[in-house]
Symmetry: C2
DNA sequence: TTCTGAGATTAGAATTATTCTGAGATAGTA
DNA sequence: TACTATCTCAGAATAATTCTAATCTCAGAA
């Protein structure tokens, strides 16, 4: 996504829900968009404040909540006690490497679509979590 | 699983890894086996100590770790900040109700087995997480 | 049976992640 | 430009989990 698109998207989404567009929220979103590694709050904060202070920890938390509320960010829960965040909100699956801990996006069309009609529940979404060794860790485990 | 089987299973598994079979570990495992609701540490502890104190919080944590180490218990991560535990270690999937929060086991054979060969990773296990409304919550949402 | 040491339990302290508080700052409207 | 609801932030509060170190227990040795 281009920088211009990024700005348009966040402005429109936040505004449509009556939320303000602030430099902190934009910075959090831009940071998430710029990386593919599903960072934690701590990692985002460290990144944002690398050159000069731009945000506090509490603000990263509340910014992520705001971004989640408007559907720009998703939470990723794969490890105990670790909440990670992802700006890729298109449906996709996740791979989690048990050795290096890295998390990779797995394309939605990797699996045939499931027929969830015959479950006794109303399924609204689903996701496959795959665990094992990533490309960099196979061979040297 | 019968009470007798439960005892055999836990004794053999713990012993085979050089771990002791203690009343606390057995109580945690028995409690997990007796319920289908994927309880949290807090819920297990409350259950165990209902009639008289049998275990401390720290012991529930370490017992669960021991039981996980020998493969008798699995952790279930579906909600932010909530670790749940499951004595059903057979491969299966999970359904999570967004309204009442209940978690249901979904049989392994609900989905055709996936071909994970063409992923650029070594897949060792996978699981499908389905979200939506459970049978009790559909109709009154 | 008694002794002994490694492992287990425990209360409470420590740590860590997240949320709350309330005072000051600011985005966006008019 | 002025106004005001919302946002930010430092620090306090809360909650989940782990650590500490003192005591206890049990399996095997004597």
């Amino acid at each position: 996504m281009s920088k211009e698109n990024q700005r348009d998207v966040i402005v429109n989404r936040l505004k449509s829900k009556g939320l303000r567009v602030t430099p902190q929220r934009f910075a959090v979103y831009a940071n998430l968009c710029s990386r593919r590694d599903h960072p934690t709050v701590e990692q985002i904060l460290k990144d944002l404040n690398q050159d000069f202070p731009i945000s506090s920890q509490a603000t990263v938390y509340t910014s992520l909540q705001a971004l989640r509320k408007v559907g720009l960010v998703k939470e990723v829960l794969l490890e105990e006690g670790v909440s990670r965040y992802d700006a890729n909100v298109e449906p996709h699956h996740h791979f989690h490497c048990r050795q290096c801990g890295s998390i990779k996006d797995v394309p939605w069309d990797t699996f045939d679509s499931f027929n969830l009609e015959h479950l006794p529940y109303l399924a609204e979404s689903y996701e496959v979590t795959i665990r094992g060794l990533c490309d960099r860790c196979t061979g040297n485990n």
